[in-house]
Subunit: 360 residues, 2 copies
């Protein structure tokens, strides 16, 4: 099914959503995107697995990277596709998987590729796969490692949903398992054992009493979080449990690096066994850098901190300032009622067109 | 395979164990027990499902019930059968599933049935099935409901393992789910939700601080216990959990009835949602009653409280004093290294023979 880049951004978003592309199954959509981009004579098009990269080579003073992923989380049951348009109190909305996370952003990028044969900055469009699953399968990780030159630029915009408002940087995320051990015994004779669940009481006390930081970084306010996201313990209904594991997720502001985040969590749970299962640093918003400043000035509107973790951290790790900017409410991502106001799709397209077509 | 009641109690225990009878699969063993008992001319034998009951009718002043179950928990992998004898520091032991819980007790009963055509008290031997699984399948429950006259008597001895020492009564057991609810949110924005695991901190605090009672009931010391036996919460590693459930097992002394036990737990967890999932009252040892006194005097040795819950509570509910007395260390029941000193098998047989053959 060919994609029509002449269609308006709402129709194009719908067409992209209607090509299902749950993580690991992006080939058909990558084919369609590649084919559409190869129709744009001004672009160099590179295919790497199910990632498609397209670039201008106009010799501009700056190069901008516009990035976004092709995959979605699984559909609902029954499936929330094909997309449908419905009127709502705030205007028309496009409903269905991917409308928010993030085929609206993909549509905006494709429209820019089509509409701007001579953008005021050189542009690299990155369409990558496997973002919604474990980091080691994320193609942006792979390409940053194997062909980093393809991602080079002065500034990156990740088109993750931000309600078409600029969200700078992102928080880091650390996941640990905090655990206790005990001695199993029959629950009729608890004094013969040691209860690992009872021993976990101070872990929950420290979490409940934790006062998360709110930190200003480069002018944006980041709110941290220290949350139990899971707890498990107990083997049988008659047995004093010999193990209890609390999974804790620390979301840390980007003024803290990965090592400091880990040290903080180890200090908080001093006296308990702490195993790191997942750690990814954040990204400073970098809004003091000229390329970022120019973007914010061109786009206008409210600028805030990104509270979730996003792939902007990967660009940050490559030394590039990066912001999140895309259509859709992030709170509706992955939800059964995922839907995007069509006005946001148009607003995001207009804002980026304005930025990349004015005199640089 | 026929059972030879002339064989010594150790060989008979081994033969009983070697007929596998995991709960629900007791037919073959029930057949063998029934056949052996039908060979004892002085006994009336009744078969009800896979329960076998045999009784003397000598017109004695007292009737004693000797009860024990035919089933075992599942075998180990690889299987811990057939039984084998091994020397240990404390003498010979019989190893294998059922040697402790409780085919040693079954063998003692069969030997008594064979050796005592004219016991000094009328005796009802009860061999029942499905004790190691959910209470509603336990045949003692069924027969107490459908044919209670078969269980009538002045005093009951349950031949559950007690290291061949008298253990009086038993504690009750109450299981509840104590839970919290919260509001799910992305863990990057914990302030949008309410963390149900953090909210469970006071539940664990109260458990950790709980000071269990030690109570003297009819001269025996019962130690209570209030133990978390399970905890669960959390749906995904990025989600603030909206539910946390702590499973708590209260083992209460038999001076407390079921309603009082439930009220105590509800008071302890005041402010939380408490759902009862399992409740069984205990049994007073009743050692002040003449039949029980006579038994203890005849058997001799240390007398203590039964800390676990056993089917003596079912006899207690029928208005009969009941004690636990059988070969095997209860701490080895259900274990991979289940084994019984052969001296305990002989000691239990000797003690009960002595009690039932002396002048009453």
């Amino acid at each position: 099914m060919a994609l029509d880049l002449h269609a308006d951004v709402v129709s194009l978003t719908a067409a992209l959503c209607d090509i299902e592309s749950v993580s690991g199954d992006e080939a058909r959509l990558a084919d369609a995107v590649e084919e559409a981009l190869r129709g744009c004579a001004h672009l160099e098009v590179i295919r790497d697995g199910n990632t498609v990269i397209a670039r201008t080579h106009l010799g501009r003073a700056e190069r901008i990277v516009l990035a976004g992923h092709l995959d979605t989380v699984p559909l609902t049951d029954p499936p929330n596709l094909p997309t449908r348009r419905e009127g709502g109190p705030d205007g028309e909305e496009l409903w269905g998987r991917g409308t928010v996370d993030m085929k609206g952003g993909v549509a905006v990028k494709l429209r820019l590729a089509h509409l701007l044969p001579e953008p005021n900055r050189d542009v690299t469009f990155v369409f990558y796969d496997c973002e919604e699953i474990e980091a080691e399968r994320n193609s942006l990780t792979r390409i940053a490692a194997t062909r980093p030159e393809l991602l080079e630029g002065d500034f990156a915009v990740l088109l993750e949903p931000t309600r078409a408002l600029v969200e700078g940087g992102c928080k880091g995320t650390l996941r640990v398992e905090v655990s206790t051990t005990g001695v199993a015994a029959h629950s009729g004779r608890p004094w013969m054992g040691e209860n690992a669940i009872h021993a976990a009481a101070p872990i929950l006390d420290r979490l409940a009493a934790y006062d998360p930081r709110e930190v200003d970084v480069d002018g944006l306010l980041f709110r941290e979080g220290m949350s139990a996201v899971g707890i498990r313990g107990g083997a049988a209904k008659n047995v004093i449990p010999d193990s209890c594991v609390v999974t804790v997720n620390y979301r840390f502001a980007p003024d803290v690096d990965e090592a400091a985040a880990e040290a903080h969590v180890r200090e908080l749970f001093d006296g308990f066994d702490v195993v790191v299962t997942d750690l990814a640093g954040g990204a400073r918003p970098g809004l003091d850098m000229p390329a970022a400043k120019a973007f914010v000035d061109a786009i206008g509107g409210e600028v805030s901190a990104k509270q979730g973790w996003t792939d902007v951290a990967r660009f940050s790790a490559l030394g590039m300032p990066a912001v999140n900017f895309g259509p859709g409410d992030p709170l509706l991502a992955h939800k059964d009622d995922e839907r995007c106001p069509t006005a946001q799709l148009r607003a995001a397209e207009d804002a980026l067109l304005r930025w990349l077509s004015h005199e640089a």
